[in-house]
Symmetry: C2
Amino acid sequence: MKARSGRRKKKVAFQGERGAFSEEAARKLLGPAVVVVPCQRFEDVFRSLEQRKTDAAVIPIENTLHGSVHENYDHLLHFDLPIVGETKIRIVHHLIAPADVPFAKLRRVYSHPVALNQCLSFFAKNRQLEQVPFYDTAGSVKMIMSERPPDAAAIASEVAAEIYGAKILRRSIEDDRQNFTRFFLLHRPGKNRSRAPRAGKNAEWKTSVVFTTRNVPGALFRSLSAFSLRDLNLAKIESRPLRGKPWEYLFYLDFIGRVDEPTSQNALRHLGELADLLRVLGSYPRGD
Amino acid sequence: MKARSGRRKKKVAFQGERGAFSEEAARKLLGPAVVVVPCQRFEDVFRSLEQRKTDAAVIPIENTLHGSVHENYDHLLHFDLPIVGETKIRIVHHLIAPADVPFAKLRRVYSHPVALNQCLSFFAKNRQLEQVPFYDTAGSVKMIMSERPPDAAAIASEVAAEIYGAKILRRSIEDDRQNFTRFFLLHRPGKNRSRAPRAGKNAEWKTSVVFTTRNVPGALFRSLSAFSLRDLNLAKIESRPLRGKPWEYLFYLDFIGRVDEPTSQNALRHLGELADLLRVLGSYPRGD
C-alpha cells in the first residue's frame, strides 16, 4: 500500500474492532491516513509489531476511572518495544443508529456493558430503551448497520459512527465527562525516530521506567531521592506487588525529562545503584 | 431477620448480581450467615451503608490485571465510611450449566465479556462453543437456570453455581491463575469495632490514606520521609493526577501499622505538615 508520495503507508496495530477508542488514539498520534490493524488481544498487538507485521502499535495504559492497565505494563516489560509517544482521549459515548431509524422508534440499545453502565442517567430518562450487552462498543455499531433491526441503536465513539456509515442520534450521553484514557505509541527498538510524532521545540518530554526495590523500609524513599536530589519532577508513580514475593514491589514511574539529557542519565544511574531491576520503557514528547 | 442467637443478622451491600465475586468476598469477611444486598452501582453500595439500610459494604479496590478501581477511591473520599477490613479473592472462572445439560450438547457460552476474554485458551480448544456476551457473570448463570436453553452454559464463580443450583462442568478455565481482586470492608464511622473481623494477636495492620502534595519538585519525596524516617514500611503507593490541576497529584498510600500506634500518629502528623489534604481512609488487619 503506497501513499501518493510513494512512501508506504504506516500500519498500526490496536486491540478491538474498527472504530474502537484505540483507533481514535492511533489517528490522533499518526494522522488520518494511517492503515489500522485491529487485533483481538493486547498480546496480539505487541506480537504484530514485534513480528514486523505492523510499523507501530497503540495501547491504552490508564483510565481516569478504571486505573492502570497492568496487563499492558506486563507486556511492555516482556516485549522490547519502546514507547515513542503518548496521547489522551476523552471517552465520549454517542447514541448511534442507521440513518432511517428515528429516536422515537428505538426500543433496544446495544453496547459493551462498561459503556452501557457509563450512560445510566440517559437510560433513567428514557425508560422505553432496553440495554442489551454486546461484545464491543464499535462492534455493536457494525452489527446494527449490517443486520438493521428497525428498533435498535448502539453506543460507541464518533469514529465508529463514521466508519460504519451510521448516524449520531444523541451526542455525549455518558454520565461522567471526566473519563479519559491515556494511550502509548510503540515502535520497534532502533526504528527511525523521524517517524515518531514530531515534538515542538519547547515540547516537554516524559520518560517512563519500571524498577523493583529491595525488601527494606525506606527503599522507595531512597529510590525517589535519585530524582528529587536533581529537581526532576515526577508525573506518575505506582507500586504493584511482585507475584509470589511478599513485600517486594514493582514501580511504574514517569518523570519529566528526556532520557538522553545529562540530568536524566545521572538520575537513572543513581536509581540503578538502588534498584534490583531497572528498565527504561521509553522517552517521548508529553501528550496533551 | 434474626439469627438463632437472637442477634439481628448483619446486612452487607455489594455491587453486582447475587453470586458476584464481591459476594464471595463479603462471605469470606463476614461469614456465611451474612445477609447480602446486591446493588446496581458502586455509588448505590456506599449510599446504602450511609443511609443505614445495611450494616457493612464490600467493594473491590484493585485487581492484579486491571489495576486500582479509581471510582471506589473517589467514593471513599466523598463518603465518610471507614475501611475496617480487607481480603483478596482469586478470580476463578468455572463453566456452569443446568444439571441435565451435558458438555457434549453445549454450543453457546454466556458471560460478561471480560470473563469470556479471560478464558480464550479454553475457547481455542473447544471451537464448537460460541461466546455470547452477557451483562454479568453471575447473571448469566441466573439466566440459563431460569430459561433453560438446552445447549448453553455460563462462566461464573463457584458461589454463583451454588446460589442458582447449577452444576460445574469444567473447573478453573481461566487463562491466567494470577488474577486476584482485593476488596475492602466498610462500616459507618464510630460503629462498634467488635463487629469488624477479629484480628489475631500478632496480626499485622495496615492503614490507608489519601493525600495531595503541592506542585513542587520533590514534594512526594518529602512526604514519604514521614514514613521512612520512622522505619514504617509502605504496602502501596499510587499517584493520580488531580482533575483540572496540572502537576498536582492525589496519592493513595497504604502503610504497615495501626493508626492508633504512636509511630503512626507521628508519621501522620508529619505528613499533615507537608500535604494540602490528608484523609485516613481506615486502619484494618491485613488480609491474606
